[in-house]
């Protein structure tokens, strides 16, 4: 972390602290107040958007560890979200487990499925691995549709709303708080995972896997760990998404969501934890913009204009970022911060 001049670490606690300066604290406090007061002043539509953004951030943190830090591009993340979502739905509905037990289990099951599909990653990498994860998505999708008695097939299955100490979480406002607490938790966990031994091993594998192996990093173990951690995040996000709609359906987890998750990492900045948040917000707002201006275009072109536009706008944004700012928003922000900290020099 780059600190302004004059900020010194006088003990180990200060050295490893995530939030160091007063302006850090002020920024963080303002952000927290903003995030947790949204239900007070925002409309229902905004609240829904904010909840979805929160759920997507959790999922994108997982992909960021897997792709941004361990360098294994996954186009199957949406499939792992589906695993988590259906696990939660089955546990809550058929086994009658409470939401709080089912959610971590959903994460674990998704993580284990992630390990299974991550197994080829020892032999293959790059484009081949991308194709393996594409295969993972379609195989999961097919399995979910096949086990109709368990998952409801194409019709999907309803999920009961959980009770939390007498508060029904069907209330969208309370659910928003639940999601946001988990988002904060996920962000802290993701940030910390990257500072552990495993996190450093991930970065070493990303930068040069052969060199990392020669230096004693166990490729097999760490690659599978990256898959496990990334898919746990995906599974929890999938579970939250299913619980939010009170319904589990394969349509909730389309293949293109994996593409957008990758796009969020590109726009935010690969490998950066704060970048994940910028990227998710940017792409979700672009899609919202497409939904807003779509109807006015519909009269000019055709009734499906909003759908087409919600594909084109984020894709064009991804292309522009790849060409002009491949390190993403987080890098742009860092450059700006360095500039004003050193101003007028």
């Amino acid at each position: 972390m780059r600190l302004p001049s004059g900020t010194y670490a006088q003990n180990y606690g200060q050295d490893i602290a995530m939030v160091r300066t007063r302006s850090h604290w002020i920024f963080l406090a303002v952000l927290m107040v903003f995030v947790f007061t949204i239900p007070q002043w925002a409309s229902n539509a905004t609240l829904a958007l904010a909840t979805i953004i929160g759920i997507t951030i959790i999922s994108a943190h997982g992909l960021n560890i897997l792709t941004g830090n361990c360098g294994m591009v996954s186009l199957g993340h949406s499939g792992f979200m589906m695993v988590g979502g259906y696990t939660l739905a089955i546990l809550c509905r058929s086994a009658g487990l409470p939401f709080w037990v089912a959610l971590p289990v959903a994460g674990l099951v998704a993580g284990i499925v992630g390990i299974i599909f991550g197994l080829p990653s020892l032999r293959i990498k790059g484009f081949y691995l991308i194709m393996a994860t594409v295969a993972a998505y379609f195989i999961i999708h097919w399995l979910v549709l096949q086990f109709r008695s368990l998952t409801g097939g194409t019709e999907g299955m309803p999920v009961p709303a959980p009770d939390l100490f007498g508060l029904s979480i069907r209330d969208k406002t309370i659910y928003y708080y639940v999601v946001m607490v988990l988002v904060v938790l996920a962000t802290v966990v993701a940030k910390n995972i990257l500072r552990t031994r495993a996190g450093r091993a991930f970065v070493a594998i990303r930068d040069n896997d052969l060199a990392a192996e020669v230096m004693g990093v166990n490729l097999f173990s760490y690659r599978l760990q990256a898959f496990f951690i990334g898919c746990v995040f995906a599974g929890i996000a999938g579970g939250l998404s299913v619980q939010y709609y009170s319904f589990a359906n394969v349509e909730q987890f389309p293949f293109f969501d994996s593409v957008w998750l990758l796009g969020m990492l590109i726009i935010g900045g690969m490998g950066s934890v704060s970048g994940v948040i910028y990227g998710v917000v940017a792409i979700k707002l672009l899609q919202q913009l497409a939904v807003k201006i779509g109807p006015s275009l519909a009269e000019l072109v055709n009734p499906q204009a909003a759908v087409g536009l919600s594909l084109i706008l984020p894709s064009v944004a991804i292309i522009l970022f790849l060409i002009f700012a491949p390190q993403g928003i987080s890098h742009m922000w860092e450059r700006f911060r360095n500039y004003y900290q050193a101003w007028p020099y």
Binding site: L75, I124, F127, A135, L309
Partner: protein, 296 residues
């Protein structure tokens, strides 16, 4: 036996369709080491263009194909210049991500322009039906077969016997050395994209003529990537052989295994991916692909 033959023949037609899309991928990978995920989308766009040229504009088929070639050339140049050229010299991953985004744009354009609806123009293309005993070969197979064979012959000829083909093969081998020998690598890349787009668009017009134009054509593009993996990333013959194998296997699996599945099957949608996963684990370079040895 008739059932088997019927499955076999429809599988062959499907396989030819896969092969056409796979060629669009392989040509680009062969010369510039770039992965073109959007090749299925290009074929879909070709099918929609075919619909527009043949139905609302009611052009004759030859004129439609000529215009389509012009559109393909334009498209190849635009895509290469605007999206691929700026990434020249970067590792392959950003280019993969770029073509994924490109796939999103083309999908969006197709929905914006044609409403994402199913459009058919069967009666506008010449219908050739063959009968082999009790089995009738659908016109789609015959047409796709002819088109693929002609295209592959042309491409093989260009690669083997022309100067520009030599330049392409040289660029594929080592870009820097090629440049130092005075070959314009950027021209080669542009040409490669032009060829891939023309193949995709013309193939799309013909395929759209038999299967109709609809967004699922681009999903076939994803399955065609399984063909590419099976055949080997840089092998045109591999694309054809892999396409035919996968198309037939997929159809046989759907015909014989679907009735055994708990709820109706739908095995056709997932079978190519299962095969792809097996190939990736046991023979990652495919049937005809070049093995690359990596050094630090």
């Amino acid at each position: 036996m008739t059932f088997f033959l019927q499955l076999f023949i429809t599988g062959l037609a499907l396989g030819m369709m896969y092969a056409l899309i796979a060629i669009g991928f392989v040509i680009i990978f062969k010369c510039s080491q770039a992965f073109n995920i959007a090749s299925g989308q290009i074929v879909m766009l070709g099918a929609y263009l075919g619909y527009t040229f043949l139905m609302p504009l009611a052009l004759p088929v030859w004129a439609a194909i000529l215009i389509a070639i012009a559109v393909g050339v334009m498209m190849g140049l635009v895509i290469e210049r605007l999206t691929i050229r700026p990434l020249l010299g970067q590792p392959p991953l950003p280019i993969v991500l770029m073509t994924i985004a490109l796939a999103g744009v083309i999908d969006g354009v197709a929905i914006l322009g044609w409403g994402g609806e199913y459009q058919a123009y069967h009666d506008r293309l010449p219908a050739i039906t063959l009968h082999l005993g009790a089995v009738s070969v659908p016109p789609s197979s015959v047409l796709a077969l002819i088109v693929s064979v002609v295209l592959v012959a042309i491409l093989m000829f260009v690669f083997r016997f022309t100067k520009i083909g030599l330049a392409m093969r040289a660029t594929a081998e080592d870009e820097q050395v090629t440049r130092s020998l005075g070959i314009r690598a950027t021209t080669v890349y542009a040409l490669v994209w032009v060829i891939a787009c023309v193949v995709g668009i013309v193939g799309g017009i013909l395929l759209g003529g038999v299967s109709g134009a609809s967004p699922p054509l681009s999903d076939i593009g994803l399955k065609a990537l399984a063909v590419v993996i099976l055949g080997g990333l840089d092998s045109i013959e591999g694309a054809i052989v892999g396409g035919v194998i996968l198309g037939i296997l997929e159809n046989l699996a759907a015909g014989y295994l679907d009735p055994l599945m708990p709820s109706g099957g739908g095995l056709a949608n997932v079978f190519p991916f299962i095969i792809m996963l097996i190939v990736l684990i046991f023979k990652p370079h495919g049937l005809f692909g070049l093995k690359r040895i990596e050094r630090v």
